[in-house]
Symmetry: D2
Subunit: 346 residues, 4 copies
C-alpha cells in the first residue's frame, strides 16, 4: 500500500479527498491534520465518514514521512512550507492556488503579492489531467486546479484543441456556482438566510481563476473574461462560454472536436440530446462524480457558439482531479477510486 | 370605482394580477375566468387570497362589460378574440405575447406562424412604462412584456438612452430564471425532483423574448443574444449583460446614466455598494415587489461592461408592469397598489 | 402622526418591523438604532428598503423621546434597561423574550438565570392579540412572542378554547422551522453549505418557547413537549400538534371550534380543503403576511387529533404581531399596515 | 457472473437499482424494461449513467430468463404477473408494495382492495435485512420496503428489540420526506413552483406504510400513527418518533440498546454528538448511501423518548435494501456494491 497524508483535512476539499482516499484500493492514509479540530474524530467534521474510519485530526507540526503528501490548506500557506513538505514526501499534490501558475509575474498580477517560493513554480505540473496527462506520468509535484478555471478550461478545450475559435472576438464565460465554493468558513453572505434563493453576480470580472484560463488555454488577458454568479445549490459549477468560431466552422466540425476529446478522456462526456429532460450539461447530477459534462450550441448564422461545461467543484474542480492526478503519477489506472456515477434524481 | 375583469385567472400571471387588483384602491374586480377551475373559489387555486375574496372562477364565455379588461391567457389566444374583447371593454391590457411586437414580420419570424390579427398590432403600446410612459397616458390598448425581455431591456436602458454602447460589438445577455416562468402547467422537467438544484442552460439562443429586446432597444438581430439558464428559485430573473462601451466612456459616465434613469422612474433603483451583503442587484429580495434593481461594472482597461438587472418575473416582468400601465392609462398615481417593498430575508 | 423608534434595527425582527412601520399610515419613525451598523443607511442592511427611506442607523445611547418604543434586541438586554426606556416613551413593545413570562420562577426555570427586573413582569401583556386583545386596548407595555410558541399556541387555541382536549394524554408538538429563526448572526451550522437541504431535529425537547405555551394555554409542564426540526426554507414555521380529544368529540365539533376562532380573529384562517394543491396550512404562502393558517385532522376511531398551524415566523411570530398589538394599544384598526396577502407561487 | 434484469427501470427506484447493479462486482445486467421509454438509452432517462452503459430500455413482454429478477414497477402490477415472473427467474426481489404484507386481510384494510395473489404472500420475506437477515439467506422471494416504514421501523428497532417501550402509550411518528418519494410521474403539487419551499403535512394519519410498521414491529394498530410532512429536499427521510419508555429506563439503557443494533448491522450507525454541526441523524449526508443513522433523546423526568432515524429513501428505503437483500440471498458479502459513503457538504 502507498501511504498518504493530508495537510488541512477539515475543509471541504480536504474532506472530499479523505473520502476518496479512504475508498481507494491502493492507498493507506497515515495522517490528516487540522489545527482547529485537533484530536477530534474526522467523522465529527465530515459525518459521512462515520463507521468508515476511526482517524482523528492530528497536529500539522507532527507530520511523518509518507509516499505522497496532499496539501489541502487555504491558499497562501503551502508556498511558505514547501521545502519542509518536500523533505517528508517525494510526491506532493497541492489543492490550493499556490503552485498553479508557472509565471511568478502572472501570480503577482492576479494575487496581488509576490510569490514566496517562485523557484518552485516550474517544478509543478498544472493539475488537470485532461491537459497534462503525459507530464503527470513523470511528475513529482502536481498543483491543484481552480474549480471555476476547470469548468472554463474544459468548456473551451475541444474548441481550442481543434483550433476552431476566432480569437479576435472576446470570450465571455458566465459561471454559476454553489455555496461549497465559499469553503467551510464562509462569510456573512454565506449564512443560509442570506445565501438561499440567491442569483448574485458577485464578481463581474477579475476573478483569480481567470489566470489559470489564460495560462492553460494560451489566451491573451484582454480577450477573456470570467463572470461569477452564485446560485442556490451547494455543489456544482456550470460554465457557459460565449465566443465566436472561425468563418466556415459548422456544427459538424464541433461534433468531431467534442467527440475527440471525450474519446481521449475517461471523465469527459458530451451531452447534447434532442429529447428528454437532460439535454445539456448540468452539475445537478454530478455531485460526488468526477465527470465533466460538455455541450455546445452554434448559431451558424453568425458564428456565435455557446459552450457549456458542468462539474462538481469539489470533485473534478478539486479533489477528484487530485486523485486522478495521483493515479497517473503513480502509474495506476486513471479512474481508480473515482468510479462513483453520481445520482439521479438529486 | 373602476371595474375590471381578468380573462385567465388561474395561471401565475393572472393570480398575481388578481392579488394586485384586490388591493388596489380604485379598482373593483367583476369577473375572473378559468375554464379548468370553473366554479371554484379563486383562493382554492391561489391560497394567499383566502379570507380576502369570495370570488369564484367564472366562464370566459359569459364576460360582462367592464371599464378595463385584463387578458392573462396562455400565448396565442388573445389574437383570435381581440375583436370580441374590444366590444366588452374600452381598455385592454394583455399580459401574453400576442400584441407585444409592432411588426407582423418580426412576429412571424420569432413565433413561427402568421399573426391572426396583424391590424391590431399598431393599436397596442408596448407594456413597459419605463419605455412608453407618455404613450400610455393616451393608450387604450397596452400589451404585456416578456419577463426576460424586461430584465434585458432594463439592463440596457441606461446605456442605450445615454448612447454609451459600442454596437459594433455583440451584446450577450445571460439570464437566470426561476421556475414560475414555466407557468402553472409546467412540463416533465418542471417536476420538483428534476427541477430542484438545477443550473440548466435550456436555451443558448433563439428565445422568443429576444424579439422584444430587438424592437425596444432598436438593435440589429445579429448583435444581440439571450441565453437562458434555469436555477433553483421560484420567482426571479437576473439578466447579466455583456457589452462594450464606446471608447472613452468611464465609470463616472455610467453613474450619471444610471442615476438619470433611476431618478425618472419610481421603480428603478441603482444597486452598487462597496460594503455589506447586498452590493449588486438580486431578485431574491424583490419577490412581490415591482422594483427593478440595476447595477454595472466597467472594466476600463478594455471597455467591457457587465450590466445587471434583477426583477420579480411575475411583478415587473408581468403583472406589476400591467398594473403600473393601468395606473398611467387611467391617469392615476403610477405607483398605486404597487407599494409592497419586498422582504428581507427570504 | 404617532412617533416610534426601534432599538436594535439591524436584526431580522427589527428589519421586518421597520418595513411594516415605514408603510404604516399612522406612524412616523424617528430612530432606528444599531451598534454594529452605526451610521449606515438602513437599506444597506435591509436592501428591500432602498428608495423607501433615507434613515441611517443611530446610536442606541442617543435615543429621543417617542410615543411608542419598540425593542428588537437580542434576548436578555431589555430587562437591564427597561427603566431607562420607560422614561423615553409611555408605551413599549418588546420583541425579545425578556417580558413574555408572568412568573419570575418560570422564567428562571426555562432561561437558567434570575430575571433582572422581575417587578416589571406583571406590567406587560403577552403580545399575542388572539389571546389578549381586550387587555391590549388598555396596555402600556406589551411583550413579544416566541415564533414557535405562537405556532403552538394558535394550533391549540381552538381546541383549548372549546375545551375539547383530553389533558390526561400528552401533547406532542412537532415544529419545522426555517433558517431566519436563527437570526442575522447565525452559527457554524447556519452556513448555507451546511444548512441547505437539512432535516435536522436540533431540539427534541426543552426549547425555551415551551414556557410560553405552558403559560398561555394553561398546561402542566409534564403534558406538553415541543420538538424542533430545521428544514430548508428561510421563513416559515409549521407546528403539527398531536393530542387526544375528549371522548365523544367528533369532526363536526372541531369545525365549530375552528370557525369560531377564525370568525373572531381577522388573521386566523381555517384551511381544510378536499381538492387542489393547498389543502392544509402551509407557511410557504405566508411569507410577509400576518395570517396564521389553522387546520386539523381527527381520527375518530381513537380520538387522535393532528392540529396544524402555519405562520411566517418574522410576521405573526414576531413583528407582525407586534404591529397588530400596537394597533390595538393605540385604538387603531387591528389590521392596519398588515394587509399584505402573501404570494403564490413562491 | 450472476445475471439480473429489472422490470420497470425508468422510475426512480429502478434507476437507482440500475446504478447499483452496474457497479456490483458479481452481477451482469441483461435487460431493463420500460414501456414509456422503449428503445431509448437508459442514460437518456438517468443521465448519471452516461458513458457507463449502452443498455437500452427493452420491452417488458420480451423478458428472458435470468438468475435474479428485480421488479420495480408502480404498486399493484407485480401481483398480477408474479406467476409469469417466477417462471423466468428462480429469485425475485420486488420493490413495490405488492408482497410486503404477510396477511391478505391487513393488505385489504390498508390498500382498499383484495390482493390478486394472496397465496404468494407467505412465500416472500419482508425486505429489510436488519429485521430478516437469517430468513434472507434461504429466501427465493423478497419484497421491497416502504421508505417511510423503513425509517419508522429502524427508529423503533433498538427500543423494540431491547423491550424498552411502554406500549400503553401511543407512538407518534413524524416523518419528513423529500420529493423523490412522489416518483418520476408526480402530480400537480409536485411542480417545482408549488413544491419548492414547502412544509406540507399532507397525511396526518392513514398512510399505507403504517401497515408495515404494525406488521414488523408487532404493534397494535391503535397505538401507532405516522404523520407525513413534505419538505424541500429531493432525497431523504427523517422519522422522529415520540413514545414512552417503561418506568425506570434511563439513558444508559438506551445507549446499550442502540450500540447493540449498530454493532450487529453494518449499515446502522448511532449519531449522538455533544459538539460540531452534525449531532443528530440527518438525511442530508446520506444521499446515495445505504446507511441508516439512528439517534435518541430521553426526558428522564417523564419517560418521553424522541427516537430519530434518517435514511435516503431511494437507498435504504428502496433500492439499497434490495441490493443488500440480494447479497444475503446470494451468500455474498452483505455490503457488496453499497460502499458509497455519501457526501459532505451537499
Amino acid at each position: 500500500m502507498t501511504t498518504a497524508s493530508i495537510v488541512g483535512g477539515s475543509g471541504y476539499g480536504g474532506g472530499e479527498l479523505l473520502r476518496l482516499l479512504l475508498a481507494h484500493p491502493c492507498v493507506e492514509i497515515k495522517q490528516v491534520t487540522s489545527r482547529s479540530h485537533l484530536g477530534e474524530y474526522v467523522y465529527q467534521v465530515h459525518p459521512n465518514l462515520r463507521k468508515r474510519t476511526q482517524l482523528k485530526f492530528s497536529d500539522p507540526g507532527a507530520l511523518e514521512p509518507v509516499d505522497i503528501l496532499f496539501l489541502a490548506q487555504p491558499h497562501g500557506q503551502a508556498q511558505h512550507h514547501i521545502q519542509e513538505y518536500a523533505k517528508l514526501s517525494p510526491r506532493i499534490i497541492d489543492l490550493a492556488a499556490d503552485f498553479r501558475l508557472r509565471d511568478a509575474a502572472l501570480y503577482e498580477k492576479w494575487y496581488g503579492e509576490k510569490h514566496a517560493a517562485p523557484e518552485w513554480l516550474s517544478k509543478f505540473v498544472y493539475g488537470l489531467p485532461e491537459l497534462h496527462r503525459a507530464d503527470m506520468l513523470a511528475a513529482k509535484y502536481i498543483s491543484g486546479v481552480g474549480c471555476n478555471a476547470t469548468a472554463s478550461n474544459l468548456a473551451l478545450l475541444p474548441l481550442v484543441k481543434a483550433e476552431l475559435l476566432d480569437f479576435s472576438s472576446p470570450i465571455f464565460i458566465e459561471i454559476k456556482v454553489g455555496s461549497s465554493e465559499g469553503g467551510a468558513e464562509g462569510n456573512s453572505g454565506s449564512l443560509h438566510s442570506e445565501r438561499a434563493n440567491v442569483i448574485r453576480t458577485f464578481s463581474a470580472f477579475g476573478h483569480r481563476h481567470t489566470a489559470e484560463v489564460i495560462q492553460e488555454m494560451g489566451l491573451s488577458p484582454q480577450c477573456i473574461s470570467l463572470t461569477m454568479t452564485a446560485v442556490d445549490v451547494v455543489r456544482g459549477v456550470l460554465a457557459t462560454a460565449h465566443a465566436k468560431v472561425k468563418a466556415g466552422v459548422v456544427t459538424k466540425d464541433l461534433w468531431k472536436a467534442y467527440r475527440a476529446v471525450a474519446n481521449e478522456n475517461p471523465f469527459l462526456r458530451v451531452v447534447k440530446e434532442q429529447r428528454g429532460i437532460y439535454r445539456v450539461p448540468e452539475p445537478k447530477i454530478l455531485a460526488g462524480s468526477n465527470y465533466s459534462d460538455l455541450g455546445f450550441e452554434l448559431d451558424e448564422s453568425n458564428g456565435h457558439i455557446v459552450a457549456m461545461c458542468a462539474i462538481d467543484n469539489l470533485m473534478k474542480g478539486a479533489s477528484g482531479s487530485a486523485v486522478q492526478s495521483m493515479n497517473l503519477m503513480m502509474g495506476w489506472e486513471e479512474t481508480l477510486g473515482l468510479e462513483f456515477m453520481g445520482l439521479h434524481p438529486i
